[in-house]
Symmetry: C2
Subunit: 213 residues, 2 copies
DNA sequence: CTGCCAGAAAAAGAATACATTTCAAGAAAT
DNA sequence: ATTTCTTGAAATGTATTCTTTTTCTGGCAG
């Protein structure tokens, strides 16, 4: 769905890169560079960057836009948010689940399972994103989904760290499989419970990975 | 707090107007007009307007920026978010409450009480905002606070509607008074419960105000 | 009288040019 | 050798101008 105006096209391009993890912590986005690379003038690039900053995906510095560097404490704050929002969202999704979305989720779980066996973190990362986008798409509360999406970039950044451990990979796919089962059964309660457990497991794994804790 | 760059100054000016209700439902903000009025060029005005749009204060149309017209369904979605987040936030605030913030809250409740007696909606509106900003400022979870702040613009828009009823005004101040008491006692449980009740009361009042429901 | 089409005007999108700020590297002085 | 000041490059902020898109209006035809 290519939009008409350059601003949104550049926004889409950049956010894809950020989500894909193609953008490092030491890299900087500068409007002129982005504009030159994508063959437009500064203004659309600037608009896109400022929008990304307003949404929390980037932070503006006096020397380019960079990824927000989160302290462990801030990441734990996000986990608290996840505990509050995602169980409910999963419950709503399970209740409103459709066959088409279910199929997408099944495919993602299959790919994720294969990735775990192969020990391939990046592939599992992509599959997780597909899985998540699938069930979020049927949640009948746009405000709730938007809130979840807003912080989820940061969740992905954390995953890139914690997913280096063998055990974590298995936990992720296991959670997805159970959530899929709950959605297939339209069981909102089971979906809620499993999602809460999933978030807590993620938090536990993260706490383990903090050096000084 | 006069910022350095024009963009933020204009942003502050416009958001004040919006919050004060000085901007009507049929009015439009156009960058050239704003720029001419405030004596700057189009770009800072444009940046400010786009930021306001990104934050949900305005919606961009092909003929200027206007106030968002939320459907009742969308507003109810926000109420669901509030039920999920605000009780927890209130609990955290009560536990972490400080004397200085408590004083601000007390002052806001006093002003609000006077406003209810005088039947002055706008003054209560301002007092509510002060009250809310006060307790939010001590919540030790910035991600949570940010999520709440993001949707709160829409809450305020709803309040401007529902606060026309006499009864609603009293309910708001009553809720604030109880919440203040819970915070003073550092009682997180009471704060959580009262906040949940408060949100539900607001939702109920709103449902009543919907014509076709 | 009504409906449709064309043209004008208004507003946003985009590009370019100009100004200001900030960081950092290097030189000079202590 | 270290610190501080100067200077310049890099990046952001602001302004102006041109282009594109959309809407409103007026006139013409059915």
């Amino acid at each position: 769905m290519s939009r008409q105006n350059l601003r949104d096209r550049i926004y889409d391009t950049l956010i894809q890169r950020i989500r894909a993890g193609a953008f490092g912590w030491d890299d900087r986005y500068v409007d002129v560079s982005v504009a030159a690379e994508l063959g437009v003038s500064r203004m659309p690039a600037r608009d896109a960057l400022m929008r990304l900053a307003a949404e929390g995906y980037l932070v503006p510095t006096t020397r380019g836009f960079v990824l927000p560097r989160l302290t462990p404490a801030e990441i734990l704050e996000v986990f608290e948010l996840r505990r509050l929002l995602e169980p409910r969202a999963a419950a709503l999704a399970a209740r409103a689940m459709t066959g088409g979305v279910l199929a997408v989720m099944e495919k993602a779980v299959e790919d994720g399972t294969a990735a775990v066996i192969a020990g391939d973190g990046p592939v599992l990362f992509t599959a997780s994103e597909l899985f998540r986008n699938a069930w979020l798409s049927v949640v009948p509360n746009r405000a709730l989904v938007q809130s979840i999406r807003r912080y989820f970039v940061q969740v992905q950044n954390v995953r890139l760290i914690t997913m280096r451990e063998e055990h974590t990979l298995a936990v992720i796919v296991e959670g997805q499989r159970d959530l899929l089962a709950a959605c297939r059964a339209r069981d909102a309660v089971a979906a809620s419970d499993r999602m809460l457990r999933f978030v807590i497991e993620g938090e536990t794994a993260f706490r383990r990975s903090i050096p000084g804790e």
